[in-house]
């Protein structure tokens, strides 16, 4: 009688221990996956930033002839592009990206004042391509922020915080939109 009951109690203890260990191993693996997902979603933003960056010289070349009175806007875009090229850290790239986005918004808004430019096929194609990339970038920034938010919430929730503390995980920063970009572009006619 005692042997059978002893085995059953041992089995119950083993099962409970397995669930307990499996649960915490799962939390550890989830953190590893989340950390890599955040890195990957940042790389996915970078791919689009690079694609947009490659389109900028073509855009500047196509509008330069028409926008003779908008030299400062074009200079701003060139400066932002250079800043992006020399940016090494994620924060620096994010800041340069915000500058480029802001400069592009101004260029596309100001282009309304130049009917010849608006009729230029090459410009229209570039505008459409860059606007498409901007939309994709906005989605991927949102995706990145959602990944970071999930990670930060898990890091601070119980019992995940025990594993996060043991893994020495730090909270991560979201991709912030600059003050400039949040404001509407002013166009003077």
């Amino acid at each position: 009688m005692a042997i059978g009951l002893g085995i059953i109690i041992a089995v119950v203890v083993v099962l409970v221990a397995l669930v307990f260990i499996g649960y915490f191993v799962g939390i550890y693996n989830a953190f590893v996956r989340l950390r890599n997902d955040i890195k990957k979603s940042w790389s996915n933003i970078n791919v689009l930033l690079k694609q947009r960056h490659d389109e900028l010289p073509k855009l500047i070349a196509s509008v330069k002839g028409y926008m003779k009175h908008e030299k400062s806007t074009l200079a701003e875009l060139t400066k932002a592009r250079t800043a992006f090229m020399s940016a090494k850290t994620m924060d620096a790239k994010a800041a340069a990206d915000n500058q480029i986005t802001s400069a592009l918004k101004t260029i596309f808004a100001v282009a309304e004042n130049y009917p010849n430019l608006k009729a230029n096929e090459n410009f229209l194609q570039l505008q459409s391509r860059i606007s498409g990339l901007e939309n994709e970038l906005a989605d991927r920034r949102e995706f990145y922020n959602e990944s970071v938010n999930t990670y930060n919430i898990k890091r601070e929730s119980f019992p995940d915080m025990i594993v996060a503390g043991w893994m020495k995980l730090q909270s991560k920063e979201m991709f912030k939109v600059s003050e400039e970009e949040q404001q509407d572009v002013k166009v003077e006619f």
Binding site: M1, I3, G4, L5, I7, I8, V11, V12, L15, L18, V19, G22, Y23, G26, N29, A30, R33, L34, D37, K40, S41, N44, V47, L48, G132, N135, E136, L137, D139, R140, E142, F143, E146, S147, T150, K154
Partner: protein
């Protein structure tokens, strides 16, 4: 006779023990899948990147890629059907599957930003019954004749048959957790938009899940599966061990 019954229960206890162990360990897989769904943000289709993705949208099918379901004749992109017969086995009676089939085709999933091609092959499809009938309608008779399935007994009476269809139809809202990979139908570099060169498919990760429920409902289902696996599987193991030990006399 009583010994026969006890012996049967002894054998069933071993089967139950096996099922319990399977359910218990399956609980870990379901827990992992639940966490994967919880921790993966939903992507917008126009900005999909290669690799594991979670998307939600409406099924869109090209006219030539639609399938007709065999019993109800509904237009769909995926259809699984079963024919069951009510059979008496000793004192009990139950529905037994006599024939089943699956037909599937590629379809597009569309959200408010774009659409992407989906290959549902090798996915875990979580779809409820969309059509059920016990009546021998004309399309059903036609199908049975085509498949040479007899629906009359030797006395000339109709057999007790049940026909079920599970399908994904155009317009259905679908949740997908899968892998965004290369679209083999588009030549590399020829796509107008990046997403045109992507097809959702079973990737390296073994989890490819398609459901016509929203993410919250999918998560709720997984929560019950995890609890059922750990608690149900664990309880079954303990109960079966009790009976086995009782039978062999060490309890």
């Amino acid at each position: 006779m009583a010994d026969d019954g006890a012996m049967k229960m002894f054998v069933y206890s071993f089967v139950g023990l096996g099922v319990g162990v399977y359910l218990f360990f399956k609980g870990f897989t379901w827990l992992r899948e639940k966490r994967l769904i919880e921790n993966t943000p939903t992507s917008k289709i126009r900005s999909l990147a290669m690799g594991r993705v979670e998307i939600f949208g409406k099924v869109v099918a090209e006219a030539k890629k639609k399938i007709k379901s065999p019993f109800s004749g509904a237009d769909c992109v995926y259809c699984k059907w079963t024919i069951e017969e009510y059979r008496n086995q000793g004192k009990s009676s139950r529905w037994v599957v006599v024939k089943e089939g699956v037909e599937t085709n590629h379809f597009n999933l569309q959200d408010n930003t774009g659409k992407v091609l989906v290959d549902p092959k090798d996915s875990q499809l979580d779809i409820p019954v969309d059509f059920e009938s016990k009546k021998l309608t004309e399309p059903i008779k036609k199908y049975l004749d085509g498949e040479a399935i007899k629906y009359k007994s030797w006395l000339g009476f109709n057999k007790s048959l049940r026909f079920r269809e599970y399908y994904l139809a155009p317009g259905d809202e679908v949740y997908i957790m899968g892998s965004a990979g290369d679209n083999p139908f588009v030549e590399d570099g020829s796509a107008q938009n990046n997403v045109d060169d992507i097809m959702i498919q079973k990737g390296k990760s073994d989890f490819y899940y398609i459901s016509d429920k929203p993410e919250t409902a999918v998560l709720k289902k997984f929560k019950w599966k995890v609890l059922g696996g750990f608690l149900g599987g664990g309880a079954l193991i303990v109960v079966c061990l009790f009976y086995i030990f009782f039978f062999i006399g060490i309890l």
